[in-house]
Each structure stands twice: as C-alpha cells, then as structure tokens.
Amino acid sequence: MTSALLYAIAGLALFAIGFFGVVVASHVMRKILALNVMGVGIFMFLIACAKRNPLVVDPLPHAMVLTGIVIAVAGTALALNLMVRIHHIDQSSQEQSK
C-alpha cells in the first residue's frame, strides 16, 4: 500500500462524503461547501495518480488540478453571489412586509 494509493483512497472517500453532503444538506451554503469537498476529493485523487511511480512525477494531473481549482473558485463565487442576492431580496421583502 504505497502512499500514493493511500492518498487516492482518501481522495475517493472525500468525493463520496462530498456527494453525501450535497444530497443530504438542506441549507444552500452547506451544499456549496459539499460541492467544494467533492472537488477537493477529485484533486486529491489526481495528485495521487501523478505519483504512482516513486521515481517519476507526472506534471499533467498537476496542471489539471490547477485549472480545476480556478474553475471551482469561479463556480463557488457565482453560487455564493446568487445566494447572497436571494438573501437580500428575502430580507428587503420581509422589511416591506413588516
């Protein structure tokens, strides 16, 4: 059981937990966080794939991880922004209703 395999399994575990979180979480914030956890799981798995041979490090998964992170950031930012705007609308409508 080389360390790479261990990391790979950890990555997959994170993915599964993330998915469980997405399905079960009720609040939107939790769902977004769960999505990020899934992303991190996949990145962990990718990095584990890069180092299967002790002597050689495959840079391609690293590049994929880097791009993945940027995209994850973008997605999460958009999701959070939408959530905040919905929250503002709810608040302002509550103020009007009071």
Partner: protein
C-alpha cells in the same frame, strides 16, 4: 497553408465569439452595441457556413484534426470535427445569427431592458464560444472546461432577469451543473489513470470491458444525464428555462441542453463504446419513454406559457434518448451509425429550430399580452396573428405532423424502431405525439376562441407593440422547420459522415 482545409478555420470559430465578447464588454451600453453584435453574428455565421462547405467539399468522410500548439495528441490538445459535430456547429452558427438579431431588439431601450445588455452580450458570446469549443474538442479535460464555460455562462444568463424566481432557478441550475461536471471530472481522472492519455481517440483505442472504464462510463452517464435533464433528473429545467429572458431560454432549450447530449453520445458510442451493455441502453430508452409521457403530461397541466414549452423540451429529449436502445449492436459494440443515429441527429436539428421558434414566438406573445398566463391568451390570434402562426408551425413540428422537420424525424425513428423489431418504442412515440397535440392545441384553441370581452377591450393596446424584427426572426425559424420537412436529404448527407466515422 496553400490549400485551405476546413480544419484551419476551426480555431477561428472559437476565437471570433471570444473577441466579440471582449468588444461587447468594452463598448458597454450605447446604441452601437446592437449593430456591432449583429455584424459579429453575421461574420460568425459566414465563417461557420464556409467551414461546413469546405468540410463537405473534402468528402473524406473522415474527421478533420487540427493540432494546437504543434504538440500532437497525448501531450497537446487537438480540435477534431466530424459529420455530427460540423452539423452541430452549423446549427449553433445559424441560431446565433437569428437569436442575436432577436436579442438586439429585445434588449434595446424599447423594453427598458437596456441596462441588462451590458452583462448580456459578453455572456452571450462566451456561451456561444463555449458551445463551439465543446463541439470540436478532442480532449477529455478540454471538454470539462468547455462544459464549465457553458454551465456558468448559462446560469449567469438565467440570473440576468434579477427576480427572485430567476435567481433561485439560476442557483439551482448552477449547482446541478457543477455537480454534473464534478462527476464528469472524476470519470476523466479515472480514465487518465488507466489509459494514461486525455485524447479521446487514444482512450477509445485502449478502452475495454475493464472495471475502471465501466465506472468511468457510469459516472459520465449520471453526470451528463443531470446536465441534459433526462426525465427523473429534469426538475431544474422548467424553472430555469421559464424564468430566463426569451432569447436565453431559446438558446438553452435548443442548444445548451444538446451540448451535454453530444458529449454523452460521443462517449456512449465512440470513446467508451466497448463498455456499453444492452441493459443500460434499454434503461436509458425506458427513461426517455417515461420522459416523453411525463413531460407532455406536465406540459398539458402547466398554466404558464414558457413552463409549458420547457416541459415540452423535457418530453422531446425523451424522443432523442430512444436513440440508445435503437442503435443496432454490431459485434457487441454499438456504433453511432445507421438509421438510429440519423433519426437522432434529425430530431436534434428539428427540435432546435422548432423549440427556438416556439420560445421566440411565445416571448412575443407574452410581450404583447403583458403576462405569461395561458388562460389570458384568449383571442390573441386577432392581435398577433403572425406570432400565433409561428407558434402553431413550431408546435406542429414538435408533435411530428407532416409538413415539418419533426415529422421526418419521427418517421425515421419509427422506421428504425420497426426495423429493429422493438415495436414498443413505436407505441411510445405515437402516444408522445398525441400528448404533444393535446398541449399544443390547448393553447391554440384559446388563441382562436374570440372572447368578446378581450377583443374589444382597448387596454390590450397599452402593452408595447411587438417589434416586427422579433416576429420576422421567429417566422424565419418556423419557415426553416417547414423547409427541413420537405427534403431530408440535405441534413442526412451531412450527418451521413457520422455513420461512416468509426473509431473516434
């Protein structure tokens, strides 16, 4: 570079919209904006037509590869285009041109939506470039990035409306999109791990019945089904398409949903064709069939016009999913060849044009009517005869009645179903057609009924008159659906290149 081959134009097809996005973003809000975007869409359309003609001219019926950065397949990224993808690109080019024309007047000052146009145009062009990039990419990870561009820009466009319902629909659409892409990314990771390359052609060569490939295929399927909104996982589509502004919902229903379908078909039949089992195809077919029935039933019960059309998209997607069980199995590997693929391709084209025409016409009716309630459409045929006609023609194509492209698609589907002996799909298609007729004629019968109160009421004049540019665009799309109804040969020889392509 002496002999101009179609592959050379491929990068231009992606970069031109990007350039358009940048310029649109830089000019910001002024009256020139509409006209510049129209010029860009014209340029894009001409470019696409040129590439298609070149591709057809070459008749190599092989796929055209374009190596970016000169590094070759495993290392660098290639752009590849075969019959099916050139058809999709051509379709995107056409719809871009028409819907840009429509949005130029939709977002003009007349409808006090001009301040949204600052965000609309760049996002619109980025969505178009994402679509084009996706249709021609030959690299698994590149497809992921393109899916993301499309997903995010589409969600942003849905949120453009700014109302709570729109924002909530956009958020749900975004989360679903992200979840789907993550599943896809996970599958790519597994594929890279076992095949050591990201190029689809090379993965296809080494794909086999091994365990990882199967799991990868499962993950891709579930991820993309979520993004395509096949029947049980369709919950996000109606609110998203209904609350988006009209041109956005048109492009969403017509093309964005089809992009993920294109990828699923590419993986299902070409890349990981070896892993497919009969049970899986039948399951997809069953879900498709159930989707037709359920989608049409919900469309029939919908009270809002755009929700009705959105649910009809869910139903029509069901038809296309009948492709999976119908494509014949030769020596264990199901290839995207034969009449099933032709039927599916024709359905995609027919549905794209018809659904776009229907959404635009519905948009015009809602503008003329003031609100989207179906019940209040009574007697609209008197005020907006042309839009009702377009709505009817598009509806006819969706149901699959003769003079329209939908009929040809339904005809091909039925022939395949009977030839392959799976007669139960025939029943599903026929019932789907009848249910479709139910909800279309529910709307049309309202449009025709002359409720005395409505016809004379002067108030109906207060809502702004629908600009005739918008009506003519819808009419052009409707006429295209009719024209496609008459000679199927044109589309079928383009997509024939699909049937000869084996391997990739």
């Amino acid at each position: 570079m002496n002999e101009l081959s179609s592959s050379l134009l491929l990068p231009a097809i992606v970069f031109l919209p990007l350039l358009a996005a940048i310029i649109a973003f830089l000019i910001g809000r002024n009256q020139l904006q509409g006209r510049i975007n129209i010029c860009f869409s014209l340029a894009q359309f001409l470019l696409v037509v040129l590439t298609t003609l070149l591709f057809l001219h070459e008749q190599t019926y092989q796929s055209e590869r374009y190596v970016i950065g000169g590094w070759g397949a495993p290392l660098g990224i290639d752009l590849i285009v075969d019959g099916f993808s050139i058809l999709m690109i051509a379709l995107t080019g056409l719809l871009t041109l028409l819907i840009t024309l429509y949005s130029a007047s939709y977002f003009s000052d007349k409808y006090s939506a001009s301040e949204k146009s600052l965000r609309f145009w760049p996002l619109w062009w980025l969505l178009i470039s994402g679509l084009n990039a996706l249709f021609m990419s030959a690299d698994a990870f590149n497809i992921y990035v393109c899916l993301e561009i499309i997903g995010l820009s589409a969600a942003a466009l849905v949120a453009l409306q700014g109302s709570r319902a729109a924002l909530e629909a956009a958020l749900r659409y975004l989360l679903v999109g992200l979840l789907g892409s993550l599943f896809y990314l996970f599958a790519i990771a597994i594929l890279y791990r076992s095949h050591g390359t990201l190029d689809l052609m090379q993965i296809a060569e080494t794909a086999n019945h091994s365990f990882p490939d199967k799991v990868a295929m499962i993950l891709i399927t579930i991820g993309l089904l979520l993004k395509i909104a096949l029947f049980p996982l369709h919950f996000w589509l109606p609110p998203a398409h209904a609350n988006a502004p009209t041109p956005v919902s048109a492009i969403l229903s017509a093309l964005v949903v089809k992009a993920s379908l294109y990828i699923l078909i590419k993986f299902w039949f070409d890349v990981l064709g070896a892993t497919i089992t009969l049970g899986a195809s039948q399951m997809l077919g069953a879900l498709g069939g159930a989707g037709i029935i359920y989608g049409s039933w919900c469309a029939f019960r919908a009270t809002q016009l755009k929700v009705l059309i959105a649910y009809s998209t869910v139903a029509q997607l069901g038809y296309i999913f009948l492709l999976f069980p119908l494509s014949e199995y030769s020596m264990g590997v199901s290839s995207f060849t034969g009449s099933a693929s032709q039927a599916a391709v024709y359905f995609i084209v027919a549905h794209a044009c018809a659904k776009a025409a229907m959404f635009l016409a519905a948009g015009n009716l809602i503008l003329a009517q003031g609100n989207g309630e179906i019940a209040q459409l009574k007697g609209i045929a008197v005020r907006e005869p042309l839009n009702v006609l377009v709505f009817a023609v598009a509806g006819i194509s969706l149901i699959g009645l003769p003079p329209s492209a939908g009929f040809i698609a339904k005809w091909l589907l039925l022939t395949t179903a009977i030839e392959s002996g799976q007669w139960w799909w025939v029943i599903v298609v026929i019932i789907g057609g009848l249910l479709g007729a139910m909800y279309l004629f529910k709307v049309l019968s309202l449009a025709f009924s002359t409720d005395p109160a409505v016809v004379e009421s002067p108030t109906s004049k207060s809502t702004p008159q629908v600009s005739n540019v918008m009506t003519t665009v819808a009419l052009i799309l409707a006429l295209i659906t009719l024209a496609l109804g008459f000679n199927a040969e044109f589309i079928l020889n383009i997509s024939n290149t699909v049937s000869e392509v084996s391997g990739i």
